[in-house]
Structures are given as C-alpha cells and as structure tokens.
Symmetry: C2
Subunit: 371 residues, 2 copies
C-alpha cells in the first residue's frame, strides 16, 4: 500500500521506516519548505500547487503534524481515505475544541477562559488566580505561543509576545509529574494501549520519557486508559492518539492531545513489541493492531539543538541512537537515544551516563530521582 504522509519531518521518517517491513511505501507531502525525512519520495510543495500529484501517488493519507489548514485537509479527505479523520484533526489543532471535548466527556482538565483581547487576558488572570498559562488557541506546539503570567499586570506584554487573535488561559495545575498515554485504534474499533510514559519537559520541550511510567498506581493507569478509550471512540479515531496528562494529588488532569505518533512514544521502537509507528500504519492500512507490551524499563532522551559525539554514544552498549537527518539548530529536535535496563535504578544510572554525552541536556529530574 502507498501511504501519503502530510509533513516530512522525523515522525514521518520513523513512520516510513516502520512501513517498509509491512511493504508499505510512504510518499511525503511537505508544505513547510524544509522537509527533513530524507527517505522515500517527497513532494516539496510550499505553494500548494502539487497536491493532486501527491494524491495520485498514494492510496491513503495520514499526517505527522496536526497544524494543517483544515480546508486542504478536507479537500484531501474528499479524494482519498484520510486517517485519523478530519474530526480528530480539527479538535486536536484547536485548544478550545479540545477543552470542550474533555469537558463533554467529563475528563478533568484545568479551569480555563478564552480571551480575545489583552484586557480579557488580564481579567482571566485575575479571576482564575495567578499564575496562569496563556496559550494560542491554534498552531502552538513544543511550548511555542505560550506564556506564564504571574501577575495580571503582565497580561498586555504576554498578549503582544504571543501575537494571536484568541488565547486560552488556564489555571496553573500543581502536578507531581507529567504523564502521557498513547493508544492506537483500528478501523474496526479495536484499541491497543501502550503503557504510560512519565515525561520530563524543560522550557516546554520534552527531554526525557520513561516507560512504563515508574511507580504508577493501577487505578491511575486504568483511569487514563478509560480517558483515551472515550476520546478514541468519540472521535471515531483511526491511528495513534496521544493524551498528555498531569498527575496531581486529586487525580489525573488532561493537558492536551495529539492525533498522531508522539515524541513521548519513541521509546516504543525498542521498548515495546510493536512500535507506535508500526501500529499507526497498521491502523491506517486496516491491518490488525500489534502487541503493545513493554518488556523492560526504557527511557528516551531527546537530542536537542546540538548533537554529541556519536562515537562516544555508540560505545555505550545500552544506547540506541536515532538521528533524524537534521542539521543542528538551537531548540531543534535532531535525534533521540533510547536506553533500556533490567531495573529503574540501573536505567537512571544509564540515562545519566548517556545524557552527560549530549551537550545542553538538562540534568535528569524525575519521579525516580526525587525521593
């Protein structure tokens, strides 16, 4: 099967790599002008004139990035089967719709306001109680288009900096850790759920993911599984869906979701029987989903901005290197390393060794190191 992927970054690259053993060929459609996947055929189309050419080459379409113009996506869905569907994409690319969905399904989430002026932002900060987080309703990812407001008087500055027409303002959540749950749903409604990951973000960018999340209560895991099942079914989702959550003393709170393979699921390439990439493609292709069991404690470390010395990394017998074919640039995800061990204690030791070889990687601080 020929699978078209909207976007041509590292997620698409890893989807394509998972596709070859299933005899799926991936063709990329890139609107950004800077495709990096470096694999398969790439239709580089910054002015949008080559969409038909792309569609002629593929049997089905999926995407590695949800911030796509909805009118283009609808046009695509009219011509080829698109998975996940337009509904999933529309909800996940808009924080206001996402919040409304969480509320409709009674999935706990931070209190929020929608504001469309600096004055409304100041009022929201006042009524929700500072600190609050202001986020652009659309197009934000990796901490972009966000600001923390610690005093309502900072509202106008934050409004200017973010520069969007509508912001979602959220009460600050006092969480003990960040978690994510990733699941795939097939065209027949079958659902395969991965063990949850504990994620460490610094400055809004994911740095470390541990999976299975250490010391996770079975009740908490069951709650998260119930949330993602509801979301998958409500959206009629086909493919991988990722839900980011906060663990708080009062239970889980949904943060945001993504209708795609996710950075916090990269551990599954080595760590799970079937990777998130393979399961996404299986769902898109209408194949049965694969087993999501994790066999050993696993950690994914992002390589951001600057690469280390690959030779030093590869000398560690437990490090799996994944470079994305991208040049170094500040804040850019250019690769990741996966580390496995037989115990979390050994894993932390190995992760620290690895991280010491990756310039600019913040020191590990997670539930395993805070005792």
């Amino acid at each position: 099967m020929r699978i078209g992927i909207l976007g041509a970054g590292q997620l698409g690259r890893m989807l394509a790599l998972a596709g070859y053993p299933l005899d799926h060929q991936c063709v990329f459609y890139d609107l950004s002008g800077s495709p990096s996947a470096g694999i398969g055929e790439i239709i580089d189309d910054p002015d949008g004139s080559r969409l038909d050419e792309f569609l002629d080459k593929v049997d089905r379409v999926t995407y590695e990035f949800e911030h796509l113009p909805l009118e283009v996506v609808r046009q695509i869905a009219d011509q080829k089967p698109l998975f996940p569907g337009v509904k999933s994409l529309a909800v996940c690319q808009n924080r206001a719709e996402e919040k409304a969905l969480f509320e409709r399904l009674s999935i706990p989430t931070a209190a929020y306001r929608l504001v469309s002026t600096a004055e409304e932002l100041a009022e929201a900060a006042e009524s929700l109680g500072c600190p609050v987080v202001a986020k652009s309703v659309t197009e934000g990812y990796d901490g972009k288009g966000q600001a923390v407001i610690r005093d309502p008087r900072e509202a106008s500055g934050a409004w200017e900096r973010i520069g969007h027409k509508m912001l979602l303002v959220e009460a600050f959540v006092d969480f003990s850790r960040e978690l994510s749950i990733i699941a795939a749903r097939g065209q027949d409604g079958e659902v395969a759920i991965y063990p949850m990951a504990e994620n460490v973000h610094v400055d809004g960018i994911l740095r470390y993911s541990f999976a299975p999340a250490p010391n996770l209560c079975t009740e908490v895991a069951a709650e998260a599984e119930a949330f993602i099942k509801m979301l998958l079914d409500e959206l009629g989702h086909v493919g991988v869906l990722t839900l980011e959550l906060f663990e708080t003393p009062d239970g889980l709170m949904a943060n945001e979701m993504a209708p795609r393979v996710h950075n916090s699921g990269h551990w599954s390439i080595e760590g799970a029987t079937t990777s998130q990439f393979e399961n996404h493609l299986r769902a898109v292709a209408g194949l049965p989903l694969g087993d999501t069991v994790a066999h050993r404690p696993t950690c994914m470390i992002n390589i951001i901005g600057k690469a280390g010395n690959d030779e030093d990394l590869l000398r560690l017998p437990y490090a799996h290197l994944h470079r994305y074919g991208k040049a170094e640039r500040e804040g850019r995800k250019i690769g990741h390393v996966t580390v496995q061990a037989d115990s979390y204690e050994e894993l932390v030791w190995r992760v620290r060794n690895c991280a010491s070889l990756l310039p600019g990687t913040p020191e590990l601080s997670c539930s395993l190191t805070r005792k």
Copy 2:
C-alpha cells in the same frame, strides 16, 4: 555518511533501514537488472556503464552479495574504501580458496577434492566414498549449483546438470545439526560476536533459524568463536562475517562462509541489542560496534515463494513481519517472520502457529523437536 551497496535485494534493504537512524544514506548499485530493495537511490546498471556515477555518490562501499566480478570490485576498491575488503570477497566467492583457508587455520572441514572433468568427479566420488556433495567452485548459493552423488556412476549426469568448469567434491558430513556464527569486526580490529544460531535448511534453502542456538555446550560455542576470530583477523575483515558449521559427534566442522550479513542473522533485528545490519554499517563507517546480546529465545522463519495472509500473521501478538517488496515466485525469499518467547518450549509452539500460516513452509524439525 553515504554508503554504497553493491546489490539491491533484501539484505541491502535491511542495511539501509538500519542506516537511517545513524544518519547514513545508502545508494544501491545493481547489476542484476532486477533490484528489489525499494528504498533509497538505486543505480540500475545491468550493462555496467554507470559505475562512476555510483562511485561519485558514495563515501564508502560495501556489498550484500559476494558473487561479484573481482575485476569490478578491484576497480571500486581503487577509488573508494571498500569494506569488507577484496581479500574477504575473493576467498568467500570461491569454495576452493575458502577450503584452503579453513585448512591453513586448522579449522576442521569435510574432506574434499577439486575436479575439472566428469571422470575426475567419478574418481573423487569413489575415493571420498559416496554419498558426496559436488558444488560449483564459484557462484553457488542457496543450494544452487550443487548435486548429491550417491554412486560414482551418477557423476557424469551431475557434471552436466551443474555445468561448471570446476567443482569441489566433499565427503558427506554426518551432522546432528547446522549452526552458524556471525560476527562483526571493526576497522580497529574490535570484534563483536553474536550468539550462534541453529539453522534448518530444506532443499538447500534456509527455513528456520533459532537464536541463541538451544542446548549449545559452552565449549562448542567457544570453539566457534575461536574459528570466526581467526578468520576475521586472517582476512583483515571489516564488517559482518558469517560462518556456517555442522555440529557432529566429533565436534564442529566448517561448511562455508559469507562476507556479509546473513539470512541466519535476521533474528537479530528484534532479538539482539544491535542487529547484524547496524553492526555491519557501524564497522563500515568506522564506528564502535554495538552490543550483540540476545535477550530472549528468538526464531526467524523465512517466507519463501508465496506469502501467507498478512492479516492473519499480524494478528499473532508475537509475530514480527518483514516483507521484502518482492513479488511471489517459486523458491524466492520474499520475507521473514521473527518470533520471540520467554522459553524455547513456548517459542516452538509459537513458531508452529506462525508456520501454519505460511503456505509451503515445511513442518518444523530441529533439535528442539527431536527428543
């Protein structure tokens, strides 16, 4: 690094798949007229006129197939670093040189004669004692160019059928099972050795590989490791080398070797920390070698001639499917399935389940089923 691969079949395809995470791009050079790798750039050059174009595109050259014209390989090695080197290739493509090397290093191997007429073949069959196996000295693989001679009077028919100028005639080895050992050697002489595999051939074609080989005496493993280390060092080999062996009541006997990744090492994609493909590329690129530890009993089943129903296979939670992008054709390797389990007992059960879904796959008969 841009790595050129001579040949564009499934071994090249799996090398390329292992190369992307290391940021290596593979370019293929195909002389066969029927490249199947289906990944990366392929220089399709049945008349040999585009070699310079290929060499311009790559930094280093390796190969997935050893039956290459030596004059072409020498020409390549004059222009770009070639790993494994010409010496490894020259020895491994010629059974007479291979045998001489085994003898020089005191690696036990079956008694043999070289013959260049049907009469000499009959004499060799007589003196070695039937049955004997006659093999073309060059170009034979997957049981091609071979004949078993059960009576010296069959010699002239066998000579005609094989149709080569020189044959190597071997005494029949009464073995209890077939094993292989795979190792990678780096440019600095570092060696990484995989756990041995037990291989099940039917009609000269590999059907099943179990790794680590079950019930293997540590002395036998140590002997095989000593053999392959001697071979690697003697050849100054860089990359993966595979040695096929017979286990007999009197110890190991070398059968043949290949200067490349090998079908009996495909299990390492899921079964070892670092796959044979990644370690081959690491050696070619001058990077440190990766850990070869196997974590669980693993079996590779070849898909030959005809595919099963992929959906049925993918429904088995323990089956990893690898299709090669090749059309069905009798006797052709078109894919493989890897199965893992926590015990050999469970593994055999799973392998049988899998094999029942692959048409034409012979019933499993190996050391685990013969009690």
